[in-house]
Symmetry: C2
Subunit: 408 residues, 2 copies
């Protein structure tokens, strides 16, 4: 009975919203639709053969470990591997501060559970990752949105906020090749952000699922590495990343690098969530990492995705040069497109779906509204010839919308 369950719903549950992306994905499953909507990796790049060998290896040599309950912290050899990987990025931490999670999404839920009280301010970028908002809605924060530009989060705006006395529980930043904006926080802003964190005792959640997917230019130092450099230990930054973009999202394995003071809390909270992340998939990933798969696989991904990005940029230039502006992301999986002021991206989406092409209207990524004339385009999932065709369809959809004189 709907009434029964509605009556019993918690306050937090009443804040949960379905994702626009989610409903869209149902439409985009139709093969005739070219989708720039999801944040999906290229399935033809999945290292299926290597993972098959890893599964066989693990289930032959150590089936009891791969199939039994395991520690909440994660599979020790994989934690050690990640620790080394992070040390290579200048984030050296003791082993206890390296934890596995069931995808990065679980890291976000854990952060919400540990750090958000109803009504407490939480600072996020505008636009920001939709999944973070969805993870945190049930904890009922007051979202404080910070502007972004081509250099990422406007750190000066954050500083003014702090000077005005606002005390967010944390600042959430997708630091490189942001979802949805495709922007990267500049080195100077990173340094300033870490200084602000120290001055104001401000926790920073650095979400970095795309950092390895770099197509040009130098990589900026991780916020976590700057924090370590400043204090000699990780102090203000909780760093999240994932194997979803490096190997395959269907494995659902991410990781958390945490300051010492939060490590035990994260483990205890995760225990209540799912006891631990899958033993088999962790052992498989360790096997794949141990044998050096990523050393060849990441360059391969960079090559494939760079080509797709360039294909999309070329097609946009060809078809939409007069009608929209966009950025040139130096990595990741997303482009951010801004339409003329009077064009509503939601209306364009309806027209686009009629033309069998999909994207996500930008407004979904703003915690406090805005961005009605913006949209996110994914360039990693579709093959290059489909990308060109899809952008052409977008142009047709835009033509149809504007020439119809629809109230846009």
């Amino acid at each position: 009975m709907q009434t029964l369950w509605d009556r019993h719903l918690s306050q937090g549950a009443r804040e949960i919203r379905s994702s626009a992306i989610r409903d869209l994905l149902h439409v985009t499953e139709r093969p005739e639709v070219i989708s720039f909507a999801g944040g999906l990796p290229a399935p033809e790049c999945f290292p299926a053969e290597a993972l098959k060998i890893a599964a066989e290896q693990v289930l032959t040599e150590n089936p009891r470990l791969a199939l039994q309950y395991g520690p909440t912290e994660g599979y020790r050899p994989l934690r050690d591997w990640i620790r080394g990987h992070m040390a290579d990025r200048d984030v050296a931490v003791p082993g206890e501060q390296v934890l596995l999670s069931s995808g990065s999404q679980q890291g976000l839920d854990l952060i919400g559970k540990l750090l958000i009280d109803p009504g407490a301010p939480v600072a996020v970028e505008a636009p920001t990752y939709l999944g973070a908002l969805q993870a945190w809605y049930p904890y009922r924060p007051r979202f404080v949105t910070l502007p972004t530009d081509e250099d990422g989060l406007d750190v000066a705006a954050l500083e003014r906020l702090l000077q005005d006395g606002e005390r967010p529980r944390f600042v959430y930043v997708v630091s490189s090749f942001q979802n949805p904006g495709g922007t990267t926080l500049s080195p100077a802003r990173r340094q300033r952000l870490i200084e602000l964190a120290a001055t104001y005792q401000l926790p920073i959640i650095e979400d970095d699922p795309y950092g390895e997917l770099v197509y040009e230019g130098d990589r900026a130092p991780l916020l976590a590495s700057l924090d370590v450099a400043l204090h000699g230990e990780l102090r203000h930054v909780v760093y999240l990343s994932t194997f979803s973009k490096l190997l395959a999202p269907g494995l659902r394995v991410g990781w958390i690098i945490t300051p010492a003071g939060l490590a035990r809390r994260l483990v205890e909270a995760k225990q209540g969530l799912d006891l631990h992340t899958g033993s088999l998939v962790q052992a498989m990933i360790y096997e794949a990492c141990r044998t050096g798969l990523l050393d060849t696989h990441i360059p391969h991904l960079r090559h494939v995705y760079r080509e797709r990005r360039d294909t999309m940029l070329g097609a946009l230039q060809e078809h939409l040069a007069g009608a929209a502006r966009w950025n040139i992301p130096q990595g990741g999986m997303f482009l951010w497109l801004t339409l003329a002021e009077q064009i509503d991206a939601g209306s364009l989406l309806r027209s686009a779906l009629e033309h069998h092409v999909a994207f996500v209207p930008g407004t979904a990524f703003f915690a406090n509204g805005g961005g009605a004339n913006t949209m996110r385009l994914n360039f990693s999932n579709a093959a290059p010839h489909r990308i060109g065709e899809g952008v052409q369809r977008l142009w047709l959809a835009l033509e149809a919308l504007t020439s119809a004189g629809v109230a846009v």
Copy 2:
């Protein structure tokens, strides 16, 4: 900085406690310790070969599906298989009401998220499953404990509570071969509980991870099936179960059968938790189920675990007949042991660990205290000869404790 993070902790996070079991498990990893502490299946029974074949099959034939993001509701073929499995237990529901979860533990977290507000009453058995308490502590309910006896939850006590005006958000029941008590709710009490649910519009969370592990006697009808029988549809019961005890816990795959009014909410909430449960492991499990693995594997588990239960019962009779009482569980993985009134099971545990045998003191399973002279023994994990040896060590530990004249 501990102070930084402590200062930023949410109210809910302050309620999270580490599990006594968890700390114990570290000790019990030492090979010389015979552990009756964990709730671990027998690792030598894991169907590793069948799962290896399933992994190979899935990663060869459908790698893109097994490795890509998937729907939050779960892998459709597996959902359909579960739907049929539940219909065989007289719980026939539409497909939308069958959801996958990342282990049953995630189902418990979802229930907490959707149904608990701070201070709201939640009715649990005394003793109850520790993982449920851990999942719900951060939601800060007021636990109302209901007594249990050899027929399971004392439903008459619940009825008096309801008559007195208490309105729990839900009643949580491990209906068959309870963890930790090993007891099974009697058919008459099941019927009465479902009637109370209808009268008082009372949600029931039926947790049933052990229902298939039956060693003697008839199986009681599921609470969910009685609810369906009474109303013609599932109305008041959310049913949780898992492949952890049927195949392997390291896969982390459970399922939820939900009334229609809660289905969409569960999916939206789960999306924020981890987007979806692992694609690969779901596809592997479907492959194993589709090919009939459970038809032979469940009878095998019943045979092995019945023998271990009987071994433990025999050893208890031999060594502890004068010193304790215990029940004879008709299924599941646990025995419940009650010591003499003046014996503290926590003190016994310290003595037991010196004798290289472990168990969980009963007090951990009581939300509001009690059970100081009780303890839980797992009989599924250790091989029979180790079970006999372990019970003998328990006797030695008890002798040492009582003869030492320790304040017990």
